[in-house]
Symmetry: C2
Subunit: 247 residues, 2 copies
């Protein structure tokens, strides 16, 4: 769980919910910085979602675990559609916003804490794990992704699926992006393993790795974890949603 001073993103989500128009700065470890659009995107209603996300909702079934649920864009929608949804986020303020927006089951928990030992806290096993909004990134690295995927078997039912989105980092011809991939690989990291931190006013998250993968890299990660790639949905630009099936 993030400490209050670290919860830059959650604080911005909370301020947006309260009517502010905050912007978060994302700082990358090579010195690149980017200011977010305002947070409206994270609060978008279903009718305003991009087509691939709407399409992904057709693959939702049974009990749903939304990992890194933020202010609950997907979780609140699915709850309204009658699903039994649990949203988790390592940001206390994101979870607070979820509850203010009506999500009945929202917990402060990080993606790495999801394991069979927590089933009682999570209210049982799941049929669908959501990691949309580029939340494939929460897998962090090649090794950690494999470790987490194996643990996810322990909190899911036999026919469960993971719905997750990422960007193919190599689907670019911009030299500065290609240079960043080389820089990462020289450090023994995956090309799309982006080390960033979020900053907002005085709040600064710890540095963390957020992972973007190509379809080929995704298959390598899934290999041997008990999960397999069923289908991908193409999104705008270089984004795709992966439908991952438990074997």
């Amino acid at each position: 769980m993030l400490k209050n001073k670290q919860d830059a993103f959650g604080q911005a989500l909370y301020d947006f919910h309260k009517g502010g128009r905050p912007r978060v700065a994302f700082e990358r470890h090579d010195g690149y910085i980017d200011c977010s659009e305002n947070m409206a995107h994270y609060f978008a209603r279903y009718r305003d979602w991009p087509g691939d996300e709407k399409m992904a909702m057709r693959f939702v079934k049974g009990r749903v675990l939304d990992i890194g649920c933020g202010p609950g864009r997907h979780a609140v929608h699915l709850q309204e559609r009658g699903y039994d949804v649990v949203g988790i986020d390592n940001s206390r303020l994101a979870v607070k916003v979820c509850r203010l927006r009506g999500l009945r089951r929202a917990k402060v928990m990080s993606a790495t804490q999801v394991s069979s030992g927590r089933i009682h806290v999570l209210g049982g096993r799941f049929d669908t794990v959501l990691m949309l909004g580029n939340n494939f990134g929460l897998f962090g690295s090649f090794t950690r992704a494999k470790w987490m995927l194996r643990r996810f078997r322990g909190v899911t039912n036999p026919d469960a699926r993971i719905l997750t989105s990422t960007l193919d980092p190599y689907d670019t011809d911009r030299p500065e992006h290609l240079a960043y991939h080389r820089y990462n690989r020289r450090l023994g990291r995956m090309g799309g393993q982006v080390r960033i931190r979020a900053r907002y006013r005085w709040f600064a998250s710890p540095w963390f790795d957020y992972l973007f993968v190509s379809r080929a890299e995704l298959r390598q990660i899934l290999d041997g974890t008990g999960w397999e790639l069923r289908k991908t949905l193409d999104g705008p630009d270089n984004r795709y949603i992966a439908i991952i099936q438990r074997r």
Copy 2:
């Protein structure tokens, strides 16, 4: 003059001019960070200026030096109204944008380079010095402000004036701002002496001091420099424009 890699603000101005919608992050030395609105404000046409800036234009006379002219919001307007205007900025790209927007006399020069030794480069002495858009900040510190003001006598005619805007930093009840003033004073700085740097993509300016002063502090700074406060124009929030007259 800023090196290319340091010209974060100029790069963003240039990208805006080219149709992008960049945002600059301003990082303060106590860890606070703020993302700018997009740059449209710096390109606003006269009809869209705030009332106090329009009012300030009535005090313009003779040859005009616009210090820290940015993309030329004021300089281009005054040139269109027939004034002989020279714009200077320490950003090569800001000056480039000025020229692209039609400003005939734009030079890469920092505020601290303005002195009688540069009169030949500047084409003669001035009757009006503009430092609007909070460009009082370019005075940097108490000591440097006095030093620069004395030097400004050497590039101005006897009846010259300086039109400059700042924010009264003490006109606030927000505890985080009051804490920052105390923090600054503990370091032997003025309360409103803000140490910041601009960051945009990979560009990062050097850290620099940007000064905000109350009216009382302004009078202390002017004392003994050969300039006196003639009038202030109240702006929105805690901003005011100072009309400063050469004695």
